[in-house]
Symmetry: none
Subunit: 115 residues, 2 copies
DNA sequence: CGCATATTCAACCAAATGGTTGACGAATTG
DNA sequence: CAATTCGTCAACCATTTGGTTGAATATGCG
């Protein structure tokens, strides 16, 4: 129904969630501390953290009664790479990418769908 | 209420819209031709194109009765830069992109123009 | 002109999203 | 033990999203 890019981009589309990620860039944080700067309920932040967790962008580990949130920046790699395919910042790479696309989008030339 | 990153990421969160962007990478296309591979109404595609246009990811120019859609990859730059803040990803990893695109085009995940 | 083609608009709908509040379980502290 | 703190859950609500259909608006063509 929804693949990794769906959930990644959807998670990033909310400014509260992007702000949370930015905060976590500095250090791991407890849920309550993540929520503190925001003018919304703890439950709302908890939901946002759940979305970020399901997207793989953060991980949560409970130690005692405190749940620590940790950034997982590798989860952004897929989305980043996808976007770089469109960033025609380097013409050479674009050429290679377009060649690849011609092969990929043509059912006749595709050899190994793998999985 | 919503900034550029909001609309960019939200636009990218939909698989139909990402597929449209991928198609436009190959060439400019008319609205009807964009819609052709998808199993949804022309009006639905028209809405998607409106969202992509408002996000700045494509531009539309009407010539005669045909409206041409053109990729505007520079609009991705802001989002790309934002994501780079979370980790130095390899500039352009075509292999990785290929893997993700295969997932994108894999029949059985959402609506699929290749089928 | 009259008709077909290209695209959008308007109204509508179901489902998802982002928020609230209050109750709850689990861990810590006094 | 009792009280408190941490965080989630459940129910609810308003708004947005992604789709539909049918009518409307251009534009091009014979």
């Amino acid at each position: 129904m929804s693949n990794a890019l769906d959930t990644t981009f959807a998670a990033l589309a909310d400014p509260t969630r992007r702000a949370i990620l930015t905060m976590l860039l500095e250090d791991d944080m407890a849920v309550t501390d993540v929520a503190e700067p925001f003018e919304m309920s703890l439950a709302a932040i908890s939901k946002h953290l759940g979305i970020l967790t399901r997207a793989g962008l953060i991980s949560q580990e409970k130690r005692g009664r405190v749940k620590w949130c940790k950034l997982e920046p590798d989860a952004l790699r897929g989305a980043s790479v996808w976007m770089q395919g469109f960033g025609q910042f380097e013409p050479v790479n674009l050429d290679a990418f377009e060649r690849f696309l011609e092969i990929e989008l043509d059912p006749g030339t595709a050899e190994d769908p793998a999985t």
